[in-house]
Every structure is written in structure tokens, then in C-alpha cells.
């Protein structure tokens, strides 16, 4: 051991000396006054200050060392579906506001706030004294499926390229889509089944969790690279959503129902109701630029403290292969919620009665009911997507009006094939007297084929046209297995036109 240390000391000092000798080499003679060249080009007064895309960021404050940048990406689409019960519609997919602040040369703060399908939320509250009492009125108004969420919010302290300390709401590095999900970077107007439509990921992209970890890049020789990310996070949890239903029915009694639906949700940003952390990470190896292989995973408890402790294991394998104008990109994900039946038994024990309703004898006109039920729980999910793209720059396009005003307009014909396999999907769980009296599961397979043509103006803006065919096995309604087609049909043909852009 002693001699090994001495050997490394000698090697290190020799390298240091040799480097110094090389640095002393003067190079060619510069036949002009070195001071005549501005130290940093671009600061001389001969630059024209006219705005051209890429010449100036739209909203940036500060200087090279400390700056704050405001950015965003957004997307929308129009779609026509053949399945019953779905109207043609425009959808405002999302608007994501980004802030990127560099408060020191090696300290960065980044955040994204997402407005998904969001139009408005309006709250009205009123308290008045009247009729010998106090009346409190609260009204919440909003458009369907509106969502505001923090998608990311983290700091990063970069000790060196190979080791960066990161903390906050970080993107979970399972697969390759979740960590690179901006809509304007992709060419189809709908996200994949694996990352969004089912999803096969434990929860829909963009999936972020609160935690701390490390990430870094290591160059391996001149051509290869390793990238790693590893975090400890609060992690996903089985959590409740409260659904309120008011319903008129004839000849049955009208209904007022409060239902607590228990499904998998992203972890909290405050009290961790599981009292158990999860670990997650990804290792990516790129032997050559344009060729990447990623291996990722997640492991941690998914049940809250008041239920039996069970773990979620997720693994991902992904790849990108670029051959000139032709790209192949793919991702496979598996999510396994261990002991799901035991979890439901524990849930039954905690709930007592799954449904409680006021009898008609006590309330002949109105049925009031409370219910507790699982929502979209599946024991084992796995799936993949495979996308093929070709970047085509025909002369008639590059020399057209588009070529004059945009730096790299081109067309991208593309194809995506994807499948999701759901094993042990809970279709019925009856709870009575603190027992799970009925537990019914089903296995399903979802297939989807999409072909499309994207027109990319530059790296930040794209128009997307696509045809998509989706089917589920066993005649199961699509509404039961995917979260974006509310139809009883088991097949759907969709035509979509979308736009995505960012700055």
C-alpha cells in the first residue's frame, strides 16, 4: 500500500510538470497588437443590435456571471376521434413558465410552473348575517381538468462536471422522456402511453418528487460519456381525491355523493405521509455522440403509514440512436406495486364500510352517500414505445419564405409504435365490515400506432400532424385503461393537428 501511494505521487507530479512545460510553448508570432482584439468578441461597438432569433434572449436580466432568465413552452392541438362519446375539440395542453437563475458561477436555481388545460379558477366567498343567523357562501368556479402544478423547483451546486449537488422538486430519472419532456422538443401532438396516456410510469409525466441527490457527467476518452443521477426523495404515495357528485335521476332518488378515490399520486412537498423515503437513479452511457443507452430505477414504499407497508419498484431501459438524418428512440418501463391485494385488505380494515348511503325510508327524495374506492390501481404495469424519425430538408422548403425567416426549417416524417400491459388491474373491490369481501382484477393490453408529419421551424417551434389508432383487448372500454379517451369503445381512430413552441 505504501509503495502504491508513492508510485501514484510520482506519476501525478510528473504529469503536473509535463503539463507546465507544454503550457510554456509560445506558438506562432501574432503580427498585430494583441490589445487590438477585444477580449470578448461581441462586445465591440460594431455589432448591429437588431433583434434576430438567437441574437438576444427575450427576457434576461443580469450579466454573464449572474443572470435571471424567464422562459416558457406551450402546446395546443385540435383532434377528431372516431370513438363514441368524444367530441371534436381544441385542447390547450399546457403552458409551462420557466425561470432559470444563476446567482453565482456554480450555483443555479431552476423552476417550472405548469398550467395544464387551465383557463381559470375563481373563488367567491361571502359571509352575511341574515334571518337571525349567519350565512356563509363559498363558490369555486373553474373550467374542466384545469390544473396548476409545480413541475420542477430545484437548486444545483456544481462542484465540477462530474459531481453536482441538486435538491428540491426534481424530475425522477426513470426512462428518458420524463427528464426531457418539453412539448416543443417532441414531434407528436400527444405524449406516449408509457409516460402519460396509461401511464406505465407510476404517475404521469412530468413526474417530480421532493428530495436531494447528485448528478454528473464523466467523459470517457474523447468520444464517450457517462451521465448519472441519483436521488433520495419523498416518493409517490397512495393518496385520496375527494369527488363530489350531484345527480338527478328518474324514477330513482336524486343523489348527493362524496367519494374518496384512492390512487397513486406524486409525493407531498411537506409532511411525508409514508414516513419512508424512496431512492431513484439513472445511468446513461454514450459510446459516441448520438448513441445513448440509459438504465434507470426507483424503489420505495408507496403506502401511507395507516396502511400495511409495501414497496414500489420501477425500472426503465431507454435508447437513442442517430444515423445521420434518421433517429430511433425507444423506452421501456416496468412498475410493480408489490402486495396490492394485501394493501386493499389493509385499506378495508381502515375504512370499515366501502359505501354508506341514507336509506330511502329516511330520505325518500334524496340519496346521500359516502364511498371509498380504489382508483386505477394495477399491480404490474409494463410498456414501451419505439419512435422512428427522418429529418428531411427539401430544397423547395429551405429556399421558400420559411427558409428566409427561420434558421433551419425542415419536415420530419415519423412513426411511433407503443404497447402497455396491465396485469392485475383492480376492477372491483368491495369492502364490508372491515373486510375485503370481493377483489376482482383483469389483465389488459393497449396498443397504439401513430404516424405523423412534423414541420419544425427551428429547435423551439413545431407544427404537428398525426393519425393515431388505439385499441384495448377483451372489449374493455378505453376509458378504463387510458386517461385521455372518455369512451366506452375499445378502439379509436384519431386525427390531430398540434403546435408547440417555447422561448
Amino acid at each position: 500500500m505504501k509503495y502504491m501511494i508513492r508510485f501514484f505521487e510520482v506519476v501525478f507530479l510528473s504529469l503536473l510538470m509535463t503539463t507546465s512545460l507544454f503550457a510554456a510553448n509560445q506558438g506562432p508570432q501574432l503580427k498585430f497588437d494583441e490589445k487590438s482584439i477585444a477580449e470578448e468578441k461581441g462586445t465591440s461597438d460594431n455589432s448591429k443590435k437588431e433583434f434576430i432569433y438567437g441574437a438576444e434572449p427575450i427576457a434576461k436580466f443580469g450579466n454573464d456571471r449572474n443572470y435571471f432568465k424567464l422562459g416558457a413552452y406551450a402546446s395546443m392541438r385540435f383532434e377528431h376521434d372516431s370513438a363514441s362519446g368524444i367530441a371534436d375539440t381544441f385542447t390547450f395542453r399546457r403552458f409551462v413558465l420557466e425561470t432559470d437563475a444563476k446567482i453565482a458561477s456554480r450555483f443555479r436555481i431552476y423552476s417550472e410552473i405548469e398550467f395544464e388545460r387551465f383557463r381559470k379558477i375563481e373563488l367567491e366567498r361571502d359571509v352575511t348575517a341574515q334571518n337571525g343567523g349567519l350565512k356563509v357562501t363559498q363558490e369555486i368556479e373553474g373550467t374542466n381538468q384545469s390544473e396548476i402544478a409545480i413541475e420542477q423547483a430545484w437548486f444545483e451546486l456544481a462542484f465540477a462536471d462530474w459531481i453536482r449537488f441538486q435538491g428540491g422538486g426534481v424530475l425522477i430519472p426513470v426512462g428518458r422522456f420524463n427528464i426531457n419532456h418539453d412539448d416543443n422538443l417532441w414531434n407528436f401532438p400527444r405524449r406516449s402511453l408509457v409516460d402519460r396516456g396509461v401511464p406505465v410510469l407510476p404517475t404521469t409525466a412530468a413526474w417530480d418528487e421532493l428530495g436531494l441527490g447528485l448528478n454528473g457527467d464523466v467523459e470517457v476518452g474523447e468520444k464517450s460519456k457517462l451521465n448519472y443521477k441519483v436521488y433520495v426523495v419523498n416518493g409517490v404515495v397512495l393518496d385520496a381525491e375527494l369527488e363530489e357528485v350531484v345527480q338527478t335521476r328518474s324514477p330513482k332518488r336524486d343523489k348527493l355523493e362524496l367519494e374518496a378515490e384512492f390512487g397513486i399520486s406524486t409525493g407531498t412537498f411537506s409532511q411525508d405521509i409514508k414516513n419512508a423515503k424512496a431512492v431513484t437513479g439513472r445511468l446513461m452511457y454514450s459510446p459516441l455522440l448520438g448513441h445513448e443507452f440509459g438504465f434507470s430505477g426507483y424503489w420505495g414504499r408507496y403506502t401511507p403509514e395507516y396502511l400495511v407497508g409495501k414497496n414500489l419498484t420501477a425500472v426503465g431501459v431507454d435508447t437513442l440512436q442517430v444515423f445521420g438524418n434518421f433517429d430511433v428512440e425507444a423506452e421501456y418501463v416496468l412498475s410493480y406495486f408489490s402486495g396490492l391485494k394485501d394493501v386493499m385488505s389493509s385499506f378495508a380494515n381502515a375504512v370499515g364500510e366501502g359505501e354508506v348511503a341514507v336509506k330511502s325510508a329516511d330520505s325518500p327524495d334524496l340519496e346521500s352517500e359516502i364511498a371509498f374506492a380504489p382508483s386505477r390501481l394495477v399491480e404490474l404495469k409494463q410498456g414501451y414505445w419505439l419512435e422512428l424519425r427522418y429529418h428531411w430538408r427539401p430544397q423547395w422548403l429551405t429556399k421558400s419564405w420559411f427558409g428566409k425567416y427561420f434558421s433551419d426549417p425542415h419536415l420530419i416524417p415519423l412513426l411511433r409504435w407503443e404497447q402497455a400491459f396491465l396485469n392485475g388491474r383492480i376492477t372491483d373491490a368491495t369492502i364490508s365490515g372491515g373486510q375485503l369481501t370481493e377483489y376482482v382484477t383483469q389483465n389488459n393490453q393497449v396498443d397504439r400506432l401513430a404516424v405523423g408529419l412534423a414541420f419544425r421551424l427551428n429547435p423551439l417551434a413545431v407544427f404537428q400532424l398525426a393519425y393515431e389508432y388505439t385499441q384495448v383487448n377483451n372489449g374493455t372500454p378505453l376509458a378504463e385503461v387510458v386517461n385521455y379517451l372518455p369512451t366506452l369503445s375499445s378502439q379509436n381512430n384519431a386525427v390531430m393537428f398540434g403546435a408547440a413552441f417555447g422561448f
Binding site: I5, F8, E9, F12, L16, N25, G27, P28, Q29, L30, K31, F32, E34, S36, I37, A38, E39, E40, K41, G42, N46, S47, K48, E50, I52, G54, A55, P57, K60, Y67, K69, D100, K102, S105, R108, E156, A158, A160, D161, W162, N180, L185, E219, E222, K223, L289, L320, V322, G324, N325, H391, R393, T398, K399, G403, K404, S407, D408, H410, P459
Partner: protein, 179 residues
């Protein structure tokens, strides 16, 4: 044991210093690096007239952002070894300053990033990315998703360098090309 620990830290510490993503080369340092085999380097200022702008638009489909460009010419015993242009292009937020060396046949000899100011995406300054430009000439294939593969997660910085190198090749063709 403490001495061993201290020596390990001392041994690893330079890895922290050397493994920085922000490249920093002044113009004289950059010129000495890319013309290291030349005897001397001279400079020539080229003014962008309206005729030059028209020619640039034909090559690039876009106007030149500056009114003057300075070319540096490496020579050995009156023989021209190559030409170089120092320029900048904005990546995602801040300008990337880089130098392009062009051979007398109009092909790229070498590209070096002189200053990379962004907080991430610095891989575009590595040989892994920049070596792709070697021996490339100005044609429609000199694009991302063409002859140049972008760095995942640094598409805008990759795009900026492609745009900048294309501009350097176009300017060389205008001022020094034979046809």
C-alpha cells in the same frame, strides 16, 4: 491514515479544478492554439457592404449580424496555412464565443469554443461534439440531424454552433473563396 486521506484529497483536487465546463480562451490564446504549427498570424478586417449582405443571404438565408468581421490568417514562409474567424452566437440564454479555422480548400479544420457562459450544456465545448465539424464544407447537410449530431439536453447550444460555423464558412467563401 490521516496523511493518506490528505494525500488522496490532494490527488483528487486537481480533478475538480480541471473538470470545468466553462472554457476560457482569450483571442490571442485561441489563435496560438489553432495556428500552433504556423510561423505567424496576420489579421484582415473585412467590411460587410450591401453586396456582401446579398451574397450572405444566398448562402445562409439570413443577414449577417455585424458590419465588420476580422479574419486571422496563419502563414508559414508566405504560404497560407489557414484562416480563422472568432465569432459568437447565442445558445439558450448567453452568447457562445468560438473560433473556426478553415483550410485553404474551404473546409473546416477545427472549431474551438473560447467562452461558454451557460449554466449547463457545456458538452458542446468538448472534442466529442466539435470534432464533427472537421473537413465539413458549406452545404445543406451541415445541420443538426444531418451531418452534425446534437448534444441531448443542449439542442440550442448545438444549433448555435452549427449556425456560427456555417456563417464562418460562408464569409470565407465570400471573401477568400475562388468561386
Amino acid at each position: 491514515m490521516k496523511i493518506l486521506f490528505f494525500k488522496i484529497i490532494l490527488f483528487l483536487f486537481p480533478a475538480v479544478l480541471f473538470a470545468q465546463s466553462t472554457v476560457s480562451l482569450t483571442p490571442p490564446e485561441a489563435l496560438r492554439l489553432i495556428f500552433k504549427d504556423s510561423e505567424e498570424v496576420i489579421k484582415e478586417d473585412q467590411v460587410v457592404t450591401s453586396k456582401i449582405q446579398e451574397k450572405a443571404k444566398k448562402f445562409l438565408g439570413d443577414e449577417l449580424p455585424k458590419v465588420r468581421y476580422t479574419f486571422f490568417i496563419g502563414k508559414t514562409r508566405d504560404k497560407i496555412d489557414g484562416y480563422a474567424l472568432i465569432d459568437e452566437e447565442v445558445g439558450k440564454v448567453l452568447p457562445i464565443t468560438f473560433v473556426t479555422r478553415i483550410n485553404p480548400d474551404g473546409k473546416v479544420a477545427r472549431v474551438e469554443v473560447m467562452v461558454y457562459r451557460e449554466s449547463h450544456g457545456g458538452e458542446v465545448a468538448t472534442k466529442r461534439f466539435l470534432n464533427q465539424f472537421r473537413n465539413k464544407s458549406l452545404n445543406d447537410e451541415l445541420r443538426l440531424h444531418g451531418a452534425i449530431v446534437n448534444v441531448t439536453g443542449a439542442t440550442l447550444s448545438s444549433h448555435a454552433l452549427v449556425k456560427g460555423v456555417r456563417r464562418a464558412l460562408a464569409l470565407w467563401q465570400i471573401f477568400y473563396g475562388k468561386s
